[in-house]
Symmetry: C2
Subunit: 412 residues, 2 copies
Amino acid sequence: MPLIVQKYGGTSVGDLQRIKNVAQRVIRTKKEGNQVVVVVSAMAGETDKLIRMAQEITPTPDERELDVLISTGEQVSIALLAIALKSMGCDAKSYLGFQIKIATDSAFGKARITGIESEKIFEDLKEGRVVVVAGFQGVDEEGNITTLGRGGSDTTAVAIAAALKADVCEIYTDVDGIYTTDPNIYSKARKLSKISYDEMLEMASLGAKVLQIRSVEFAKKYNVPIHVRSSFNDQPGTIVCEEEEEMERVVVSGVTYNKNEAKIEVMRVPDVPGVAAKLFKPIAEANIVVDMIIQTSSADKGYADVAFTVPKPDFPKALQIVKETIKEIGGKEVLSDENIAKVSIVGVGMRSHSNIASQMFSALAKEGINIQMISTSEIKISCIIDSKYTELAVRALHDAFELDKPTVTEER
Amino acid sequence: MPLIVQKYGGTSVGDLQRIKNVAQRVIRTKKEGNQVVVVVSAMAGETDKLIRMAQEITPTPDERELDVLISTGEQVSIALLAIALKSMGCDAKSYLGFQIKIATDSAFGKARITGIESEKIFEDLKEGRVVVVAGFQGVDEEGNITTLGRGGSDTTAVAIAAALKADVCEIYTDVDGIYTTDPNIYSKARKLSKISYDEMLEMASLGAKVLQIRSVEFAKKYNVPIHVRSSFNDQPGTIVCEEEEEMERVVVSGVTYNKNEAKIEVMRVPDVPGVAAKLFKPIAEANIVVDMIIQTSSADKGYADVAFTVPKPDFPKALQIVKETIKEIGGKEVLSDENIAKVSIVGVGMRSHSNIASQMFSALAKEGINIQMISTSEIKISCIIDSKYTELAVRALHDAFELDKPTVTEER
């Protein structure tokens, strides 16, 4: 019998009627001849409400206790869903993280799953029960409650699907799949029927918010197919899966943007070995993640210019650190710019197609958009531009790579 | 160093400011040179809110899942209190039922505590931490979450005090102690400074709602002194403890009443062995607890009249069962009355004083109150009367036994 793990997000269980709707969908899936494990998030708004309560007491609540607090949201959801299922005549049982040993490290608020005990779940499934699991939470070696960070329920679902070797992990959300770009920015955005793990990872980390990055990493590692779809209709969504040959025929799968970074430029630092290390070490020590880094020769010989981007919330701190650092290592001045955006194109087909970069640059140039920084990986190219051109750039790239047209595979 | 277990009820942690106040009181207790373990209830109204949600889905929610749901209320409280304590510079750690193995049976919604692991708590206390424990919840042998029933946090506190051999278990509530009678009914009601476990058990089961009965049984069994006091002031409250010699000098400690019972009378049943068993067996099987039972000879020879009381919510069902039963065992008619009240006097001194009953009957007679049923135990006498006379009876008995006057012990 096929085994399906379904995950329902906060809006899908946002009120009691929606919880009943979820119960009905679960029962339908079971009646279609599947074993079903359901992972649920907290009801929409609950986690934020709990965090606000803690922050009303103190702006910096203890991290262990904050996890005790916010993990209650999912506990309420699993109980209500199990109650709904049983009231509809479907045998069901809910489990919290500690009850099926969703083992994690002890990084409160951003813990990583290290293992799941599947015995109890298999027993229940064998008895014909639907198993309802609390997303977002786990338990560390000492029995402390941990949480997995924003979107952590996605990772719970994928981890459970991996542990149970489920046939598919369905992620139900308020959008109906992964799009070629943000439909709010460009009406020609098209829903993808399939996307590879690697592409999804680049899309997610570049700013698309549908899936938690870690859940995709997990799915890739254990080869769990993810089906991202809407809980408000029955349309198929987007399958995130291993790369298939036919995917390579599509050069660019999506255009993403990210307005949440800021740029720092250090002009005229001595171009000697070890200077970059000296510049970035204190930033790393402050737990600031640097994204793009570009080093170029300065107009002055023997000197270099270094530019890099950091998340906007970390920008003031990073700037201060850099200003301190160049007193030591030398450097003429520090420039910065918060009005930047990163636009990117992503596609596994890039590996086998040349000339994609120049097509991208031409498309931007044609709209008079200046490129400030460029970075590339095997399957993506990102450009930093003035943030006011973001939407224009996204639409231009979407057109240039004809993303509105269905691929050969999809036409079949 | 003295070890104090403090329990704060729902109104004492009813909002964030009150939680901060509790934290301050805990810190003060610690600074006075005590080790402190705190047990908290859910914030006032939370448990009811959760139950309402479940009942909106179905009038009969699954009991296991209901416990998963309603145990979140205490989880929120312990996290917020621990966050408050830590933000005030007091090291603290919260524990859920499963984390310190508050072991219970599997009677969801009314589970009984069978054991507590005290190691972790002692370790934390040794490190100078305040330990914050979720009341009302435990975990059964299979790791299911259980709850202890209304007022269950009292029992959690007493059970922990017993396990840790604490010096005292302080129960903070919205009243400032145990009174000779309900102050809302009689302004002359006086706060008792001390009361024995047995008296408290009779008072609680007779209708005083300050402590969960099971917590008093637990305290008696393990000889844990309970100090019932207000969380809104610093006045000493009432100590519930082992019977002391001086307590016996006081004949009557309190007057209680209970309007939540109804009376059923079965007239003229055959007076043969086994007839009472036949009458009450089906009632017991319906899980209805019968309180007072009186059997008298009927005016007709060879027949008896049987009268008994049941809780009002069970009254319609009990009446129906009895009507069915007498078809089988015989009986002339079934009378019933919902407008009754039970008034009782309680006191360990009764054991060594005669004539208390007749004093009670006289006091009621003087007010023209007719007694319908009487039942007695070693330390209490209860009378069933017309409910409209409840307040009058309570005041008359309070006056008759001079409960407004402080006892010799208290005057010292």
